[in-house]
Symmetry: C2
Subunit: 210 residues, 2 copies
């Protein structure tokens, strides 16, 4: 039995954007059933939750008594179980693993910094002064990604675990000019979000907050 | 044959801190020999390099014709080859993979943002205004990490691939007050850096710039 943790309550702005969605999506693509445990902010600070997740984040994941944390690691684990999200062929597998880490360590940090100045604290003086620099840093990495995605449907030949992590990060760019100016990335995100497994994952996630 | 790319020339400030060191370290721990290809800034922008590394970064890695990029993915691949860095037992393996992604997506982004305001652009007005916030964000994650490292030698029972990625990120905190105020982390980094494989990796890295 697979069990994941998710937020018991969630600010409407954050609904649909939390990392449990990545894990739900990977599980839906792999047609694996799972159970959700909703945890409060207070419960996340408890010793028993910290044993499952040292950073008190969402999601924590349990599969037959084996515990994982960090959405990247969980999606990799699901991909290793199901083969649908991680091809067996050596170069394709190498590329998927490379793109998984690229999503988390090359793209996600610049997206997060952009989000901070654009959406989270746009009125702070430091954010106003930093905005151009944060956009430039994000644009540099995103244009390299757009270059790769030209004439490609997915990061590697077939849809994979890397597309889940990459799409979940890119969605945070929101309706910004930065995002809209990169049509190859907009189309890619729309293509990934159109997948039935994403829609199912999102519906299950949103059901907790309706 | 294993081949990695490294910087042909490197600012003295950056020497010892680039991501090829993570990969060299994993290779030394695994007692795998490798060849280094030094590439210039211009060569990294070439089409042939971009085919190996879509973000023109260092390192790119090739193992018998199979190409990887992103140090996290490369270290995972080496760990999968050698078993010394990634235990076979299910929970230990799950924990190592979880900590690998935690190093890259939970710790490294806050370390990078701290580096930016502390070392890279300390005199910019936005950085001066942001500094307290960047320290607070880093401190929050680092104190959770320190909490985990209390009474532990390594992230998981034995030294693993996760310790390589985590140490390489934490080293960037440099001689800052933020770092020094977390003795559990200072001791952990020193313990990891004292390993002969780290010393060998560093010597080979530095040899290119002497």
């Amino acid at each position: 039995m697979i069990r994941i943790s998710a937020f018991k309550s969630l600010d409407p702005m954050a609904q649909g954007f939390t990392r449990d969605v990545s894990v739900r999506w990977a599980l839906e693509e792999s047609e694996l059933s799972y159970e959700t445990v909703l945890v409060s902010a207070e419960e996340r600070k408890s010793e028993s939750y910290i044993q499952k997740h040292p950073f008190s984040q969402i999601p924590a994941y349990e599969d037959n008594g084996i515990n994982f944390f960090e959405s990247g690691a969980i999606v990799l684990h699901i991909a290793e179980k199901s083969v649908l999200l991680l091809p067996k062929e050596s170069q394709a597998r190498a590329s998927v693993q490379s793109w998984m880490f690229a999503a988390m360590n090359t793209i996600d940090p610049v997206v997060k910094n952009f989000e901070q100045v654009e959406y989270f604290t746009p009125d702070e003086e430091w954010a106003r002064l930093r905005k151009a620099g944060a956009i430039e840093a994000a644009q540099r990495r995103l244009s390299q990604l757009a270059n790769h995605l030209q004439n490609r449907e997915y990061l590697v030949d077939q849809f994979s675990a890397a597309d889940i992590l990459m799409t979940m990060s890119l969605r945070n760019l929101g309706p910004s000019d930065l995002f809209m100016m990169l049509p190859a990335i907009v189309t890619y995100v729309q293509r990934c979000e159109a997948r039935p497994a994403f829609q199912k994952a999102m519906a299950k996630h949103m059901a907790s907050y309706s």
